[in-house]
Symmetry: C2
Subunit: 135 residues, 2 copies
Amino acid sequence: MTKTSSQCPTKKEVLQSLHVSENDLQDSKAVVKAATCMPDDDVLIDLSEVFKVFGDSTRVKILSALSYNELCVNDISALLQMSQSAISHQLKVLRSAHLVTSRKDGKVAYYKLDDQHVESILAIGMQHVIEKGSK
Amino acid sequence: MTKTSSQCPTKKEVLQSLHVSENDLQDSKAVVKAATCMPDDDVLIDLSEVFKVFGDSTRVKILSALSYNELCVNDISALLQMSQSAISHQLKVLRSAHLVTSRKDGKVAYYKLDDQHVESILAIGMQHVIEKGSK
DNA sequence: AAAACATATGAATATATGATCATTTGAATA
DNA sequence: TATTCAAATGATCATATATTCATATGTTTT
């Protein structure tokens, strides 16, 4: 069986796909390694989309609040002292990203964190903030 | 010794500070718990700022690349097939957020991840993407 | 010293996005 | 059934931001 380029591209193939020659680069070995090991573009784009959802103070506050208790829209609105509409819009964003789930009890919609990852991400991010400071 | 309100605010005090009365809320106990336990606003804002930096595909690609190797600006530019200027601007954002550090060797500036948190955050975010899918 | 090179930076622009306001949907209750 | 209430949604607007283009800075080499 012969290795195909998609399974194990040669250095030459990698550089070609990047439209560069070896002497355009300071460290072609490092570039090839990164190019070979990095996840596909679409995966990294998805990843950035997830972080983008964490990257808003209103949404982070909602997530932080939900890490202690399930809460309904009205109560989140009161807690954060923001309009019901603003909260509802952001909850939609959080739902789309699978960061929260909701259940309905009559007219009241209760939200909670979707899974354990959410808390983990918040916790590690918090560590970074504590160690490196804000700015 | 008497507890002061700043050390252990009463339920009444918490609700007052939120400008709500108990019957504005579905679950006042849950709201008070969240209000009491949540980190201060400025901490959560800082946290969201960190995630905001992760929340861009170009920056995530840079961070992913740097997780395999230290790389210089030119090589990142070639790897991502983006202009030197665009990369340099984003590296500045990453530096400001303490996600990468740089060293200079002559004219060449090499960048690497600042600390272990960066990789951890990427890894957990990736888990979420894999498990929940992109959209 | 001049030229070449790697990186950084400032201004400008186009796009993305968060909050508001007005309205709608859907469920409980009078 | 009409009303009230919680939540969701659509349109709009103001702000934030990522890239480009032009240029500056600083270093090495000729």
